[in-house]
Homo-oligomer: 130 residues x 2
């Protein structure tokens, strides 16, 4: 990792830092995930966003299965050095539900309402359809 | 807290959930902070965003000192229920450095570059200037 980042970033006790992914041209907030040092290195080296999955405890090359990769446009760090903002170009959809972004539920009139449609059938993204 | 949220949200071991604040009309990502159940309740009840500060371990009514409050426009939840996206109307600036948002450093040509100017002198926001 470049020196300036190594000095600035504050990882949590698990060696992780949250990363917000934002579509670079529309401003749409796509998702939030976590990165460790290796994920950051790979992302900066390849220009394709790689996270760390806490559930599977490994590097998560987003889009490796679905093809819905995120190309890095800008890599930003916040004032405290404990959150990242990745400006990306999202291919396809960001959410595993097949919606364009993960924030598709909203508090409306005292309930949680779904405010975005599924764009791509998740089975066609991950399944073994024949 | 409303039932639908209580059933959906996944708090971490400290009872916290990350919340991204985005300016509702421009799409600018302003900051990321943490909320607990009380912060969420207060935010939904009052319409003014309240976080939990991990360093001071108390409710953080953002803008209480500086006047730079965030009025809630929309309260969104992600697919996993473990991240919030708050669409807000930011008064003044979001960052304690006096910049409009907290993500003012970017990796450019192998270094970390400051890409946004200070808009408001932090001392005038928090200090005891006479």
């Amino acid at each position: 990792m470049i020196d300036a980042l190594e000095k600035t970033l504050k990882f949590n006790a698990d060696g992780l830092i949250p990363a917000i992914a934002q579509q670079h041209d529309t401003g749409e907030v796509l998702m939030m995930a976590w990165m460790n040092r290796d994920a950051i290195r790979e992302t900066l080296d390849t220009g394709i966003v790689c996270y760390w999955t806490r559930s599977r405890q490994k590097l998560w090359r987003k889009g490796e299965t679905s093809g819905h990769v995120q190309t890095l446009v800008d890599f930003r760090v916040d004032c405290d050095g404990d959150t990242l903002l990745l400006l990306v170009d999202q291919k396809g959809v960001a959410c595993h539900t097949g919606r364009h972004n993960c924030f598709f539920r909203s508090v409306r009139e005292g309930d949680l309402e779904t405010i975005a449609d599924v764009e791509i059938d998740p089975e066609s993204m991950y399944g073994d359809k024949k």
